[in-house]
């Protein structure tokens, strides 16, 4: 990340802080999958991208998903590809995890758990917040 910042000082363009907030369960609506694709595309623009998982959105990251019974694609493994796209800032909201009896060990990727106040501060720092 610091390399990227150094590049920017050379006048390479403007880097904005983009945050994508995922609030919905993975299947049943198209939001989670489409939101993930937007993030993957955004990676091509070398912006400072982060993802937040809150409310039912934390279910998007559940490990060991099996979608055979509902005949939809299991795209949960794709969250593990984010690292290769240089999207490494993944945050989950603690209260949403607690309310659903989840811990970091239940999730398919490494995340940073933030409490509501920390999350609010992080959101306030963003240039753009997109919420699904």
């Amino acid at each position: 990340m610091s390399d990227m910042m150094d590049d920017m000082e050379g006048g390479e363009g403007v880097v904005k802080k983009f945050m994508f907030v995922n609030r919905k369960a993975p299947h049943g609506t198209i939001y989670a999958l489409e939101g993930l694709e937007v993030v993957l595309v955004s990676a091509a623009f070398d912006q400072d991208v982060s993802m937040v998982f809150a409310d039912d959105g934390v279910y998007e990251l559940i490990k060991g998903m099996n979608t055979k019974g509902i005949e939809v694609k299991d795209f949960s493994k794709t969250y593990r590809a984010l690292d290769g796209y240089d999207i490494e800032k993944l945050y989950v909201e603690k209260a949403s995890m607690d309310a659903r009896g989840l811990t970091e060990a239940d999730l398919i990727v490494d995340v940073t758990v933030l409490d509501s106040a920390e999350m609010a501060n992080l959101m306030a720092e963003q240039d753009v917040v997109v919420s699904y």
């Binding site: 993957l40 595309v41 990676a43 694609k73 794709t78 593990r80 590809a81 290769g84 796209y85």
Partner: protein
């Protein structure tokens, strides 16, 4: 959706010629798709195609070319994980052409 016939069996492709059903894929179909792309398959081509199929198996997406290059570099070495090498194999874009031959959907983040 258009259908194509390969080795006596018919398969569905989309309007851009990508295989619709990933599970239909086999070597014959790869050969057919390569022919459509005017790519002569060598061991080096197969290495990339097989790499893509493994990537898809692991992450359920076809990688953007930048991500593919990096991943190949990690696994097969920097002499293969670079644009020059990959574009020599797949002149119309490694992500696009190699993904098509591998029977994968068009890469996400391919703009």
């Amino acid at each position: 959706m258009p259908m194509v016939e390969v080795a006596g069996k018919s398969f569905e492709v989309d309007e851009e010629g990508y295989l619709t059903n990933l599970a239909d894929w086999n070597q014959d179909i790869a050969g057919y798709l390569a022919q459509e792309e005017k790519v002569e398959m060598t061991d080096s081509h197969w290495e990339v195609v097989n790499f893509l199929r493994e990537y898809y198996e692991e992450y359920q997406i076809a990688p953007a070319v930048r991500v593919l290059t990096k991943a190949i570099s990690k696994k097969l070495g920097a002499d293969k994980g670079n644009n020059k090498y990959l574009y020599e194999l797949f002149p119309y874009g490694p992500a696009k052409q190699a993904c098509k031959i591998a029977g994968l959907p068009k890469p996400t983040g391919c703009i």
